[in-house]
């Protein structure tokens, strides 16, 4: 039984990494505004969200199974507080850090309508930080480090993200590259409630 938990934790961790890679690529794809991956724009956007929620499910399984695992000896505090673990604290801590960032991204996305687009976008940028952290966590703490298949998966995931980020930074990225960037007065950027207050 304990062996089964250990295998499950490792497997679900790898699946999370693959899903998060897909989520990053789809997120960049949906930002482009061009139909990407042979899908219409709204489908890219919805697939991005649903793949992200699925990744969270696998991540939850990954973490909860390690709570009962005699090797990792995870405690509840290790869910949120990085670098204080019993087992390879640094590499485990990267996992905790990545998880914290991801929770912030998911919660702000679910509350997007309440917190406003600007705050949501600022937090969403953390995805670019949490993905490499997740990758490093898998390679560093993973008991499968050194196996050819984990390296193959990691290299493939890295290639996908590097290509996606390269596309993001290229000039032909958005649908209308020739469109001028608009400059919006700071006054107009305030949340609507505040604007209304000022009118009153």
């Amino acid at each position: 039984m304990t062996e089964a938990l250990w295998y499950f934790a490792r497997g679900s961790g790898v699946i999370s990494l693959v899903l998060l890679t897909v989520v990053v690529a789809l997120g960049i794809g949906s930002r482009s505004g061009k139909p990407a991956f042979g899908l219409p724009r709204f489908a890219v956007s919805m697939l991005h969200r649903n793949a992200a929620l699925l990744a969270v499910v696998f991540l939850a399984g990954h973490i909860v199974s390690l709570l009962f695992d005699p090797y990792a000896q995870l405690r509840l505090v290790d869910f949120v507080l990085p670098f204080v673990g019993n087992y390879r604290p640094f590499w485990q801590g990267l996992g905790t850090l990545g998880f914290d960032l991801m929770i912030a991204i998911v919660v702000t996305s679910l509350l997007r309508n309440r917190i406003g687009a600007r705050a949501w976008r600022a937090v969403h940028w953390l995805a670019y930080l949490s993905w490499p952290i997740a990758l490093a966590h898998g390679l560093g703490t993973g008991s499968d480090n050194g196996t050819w298949w984990l390296w193959a998966i990691s290299i493939a995931c890295t290639a996908v993200v590097v290509v996606a980020v390269g596309w993001r930074l290229s000039t032909g990225f958005s649908r209308f590259p020739a469109r001028a960037d608009r400059e919006v007065a700071a006054r107009l950027r305030q949340p609507e409630a505040k604007q209304l207050e000022e009118v009153r």
């Binding site: 949906s30 930002r31 505004g33 219409p40 724009r41 709204f42 956007s45 919805m46 997007r112 309508n113 406003g116 687009a117 949501w120 649908r175 209308f176 469109r179 919006v184 107009l188 950027r189």
Partner: protein, 66 residues
């Protein structure tokens, strides 16, 4: 219900024009244009309108009661 487009927020990403093409079309720069000019939402399109509002990456769409 009516659909309101906040032009200070809209960036013409084109998600709404796909989800609600019965009501919206794109101008030459990819910004949405209300086909009827008023944004009156027929009952049959309630769901599609809500989805378009939910999926706008800039939160530039709103449903209003007037």
């Amino acid at each position: 219900m009516r659909l309101h487009i906040d032009w200070t927020a809209c960036d013409g990403r084109g998600v709404c024009t796909e989800l609600l093409e019965e009501m919206l079309t794109e101008d030459d720069w990819g910004y949405p244009v209300l086909r009827d000019g008023k944004g009156e939402i027929p009952r049959a399109l309630d769901g599609a309108a809500r989805r378009a509002v939910d999926r706008c990456p800039r939160l530039a769409l709103k449903l209003t009661q007037q």
